[in-house]
């Protein structure tokens, strides 16, 4: 009986981890060095197109073809991504957010990850934190 109860607790814990929504807490974990990194492919039309292809192949199955989000998987056109630096987005793609459902994409070559960042940046033009703070208020 007791083991059955713990089984349900474990199942509940795993389910919570599976279906938990992204909450943006990952941004606080990004090391300063990674946060400050710049995208070598920023604002390059070819790289944005390549990033779009890579996004369709690797990311669209969870985040939707136009990054609009799917079910509990978050949209990638958001105020949070507009204030995030390229380095922060690249860090998230590389490391994932394993306990929130986002897998690590460290197996993709770094150049391809930056191309995806370039594409995401084209969907989320950068805004300053001051503007974002205004939005929040």
């Amino acid at each position: 009986m007791k083991s059955g109860k713990w089984g349900w607790v474990a199942l509940l814990a795993v389910s919570t981890m599976c279906f938990a929504k992204a909450d943006g807490a990952w941004m606080k974990k990004v090391p300063q060095g990674d946060r400050a990194r710049t995208n070598p492919y920023a604002a390059n039309a070819d790289s944005i197109a390549a990033g779009r292809n890579l996004f369709l192949n690797n990311c669209a199955k969870c985040h939707g073809e136009n990054a609009e989000g799917k079910g509990t998987r978050p949209s990638l056109t958001s105020a949070r991504l507009r204030i995030a630096t390229d380095g922060e987005i690249a860090w998230l793609i590389k490391n994932g957010n394993l306990y929130k459902g986002m897998p690590s994409w460290g197996g993709l070559p770094e150049q391809e990850r930056w191309q995806i960042v370039a594409y995401l940046r084209s969907l989320n033009p950068r805004s300053t934190e001051v503007e974002h703070a205004g939005e929040q208020q």
């Binding site: 369709l56 690797n58 199955k61 969870c62 079910g71 490391n95 929130k100 897998p103 460290g106 070559p109």
Partner: protein, 305 residues
């Protein structure tokens, strides 16, 4: 009998028909399912990397091995593998395997269940993954999904009828270490296996591999034969003996190049000739596999919101 003649022979056999049927079924699936590619998975057959299945995705793989070992009958051994991403840090797999031996018979050799866990939440210079497997296979198994203990090709000379009754249930653990450096993936697996239905010593094995895509940058145009869709590498694997007889002697050792091609329709083809490095090993193991990833299978079981 020559290897070519053996291949022609098995091509008429039922086991190959099943493998071909499996391949065609995967190809048909690719026609009806959405396009998706698993581009970050290295082209390995034996070695595991730190890449797990994405949560909610189901990968179906048919991998086959054919060989014509010296002083033994040639064989063909297909394995069907189902890999599911339970969470971003946990992947579960199930295998069914069989084999057909020339001048002998075709037998189902058993099944395996495994899980892989990523204990650390971030990418590091070396990324560990813990692997646990339960296997229920008979001694006629020729899948070479790993080599452990003091196995040699002498067992390939024994008939399937004699081997199939010898059932081994075992628990296997692997420590998977994997690094990604400048587009290269380097993976090392340390294997320990213990039979649970008989008194056998712990058996050990290893697998090492490295691979890299031909191009590290994505193409701006959708394309089939882009260099980014092809990955090449090499694998080295073999046994390390048992607790009482540890070492590289009296075990099988193999090395070989490996290549994978990701098609735009989501199918991945892999091929590798693996060469035996000592007298205990088969001359060449020819491996080929085809896999298909079905994205977000779990959405099919959720109510639309």
């Amino acid at each position: 009998m020559s290897f070519a003649r053996f291949c022609r022979r098995i091509a008429r056999g039922r086991s190959v028909s099943s493998a071909v049927f499996g391949g065609l079924a995967l190809a048909s699936l690719a026609l009806v399912c959405p396009e998706v590619r698993a581009q970050q998975e290295p082209p390995y057959f034996v070695t595991y990397s730190s890449v797990l299945e994405e949560p909610g995705n189901l990968e179906i793989e048919n991998q086959n091995i054919a060989a014509g070992p010296k002083n033994a009958n040639g064989f063909f051994a297909p394995t069907v593998e189902f890999e599911y991403g339970v969470t971003a840090w946990w992947t579960a797999e199930a295998y069914i395997q069989g084999q057909a031996t020339d001048h002998d018979s075709a037998v189902l050799t058993g099944y395996r269940f495994e899980s892989r866990f990523r204990p650390l939440p971030r990418e590091y210079w070396i990324n560990p993954v813990l692997y646990v497997e339960y296997e229920n296979v008979n001694a006629a198994d020729k899948s070479f999904l790993e080599v452990t203990g003091n196995t040699t090709i002498d067992t390939l000379q024994v008939s399937n009828a004699a081997l199939r009754g010898e059932l081994e249930r075992s628990i296997e653990g692997k420590l998977i270490l994997s690094s990604n450096v400048k587009g290269w993936n380097f993976s090392e697996n340390i294997i320990a296996e213990k039979a649970v239905n008989e008194a056998e010593a712990w058996e050990f094995g290893y697998a090492l591999a490295a691979a890299r895509p031909l191009s590290l940058r994505g193409s701006s145009r959708p394309c089939t034969f882009c260099r980014q869709n092809i990955a090449t590498g090499a694998e080295l694997f073999g046994g390390l003996g048992t607790r009482y007889n540890f070492g590289l002697g009296q075990t099988q050792q193999y090395v070989g190049p490996t290549v994978a091609f990701n098609t735009p329709k989501g199918l991945t083809y892999k091929f590798s000739p693996e060469f035996g490095l000592n007298d205990n090993s088969a001359g060449v193991l020819w491996r080929f596999g085809v896999s298909y990833e079905i994205p977000q299978v779990r959405d099919l079981f959720r109510r639309a919101k």
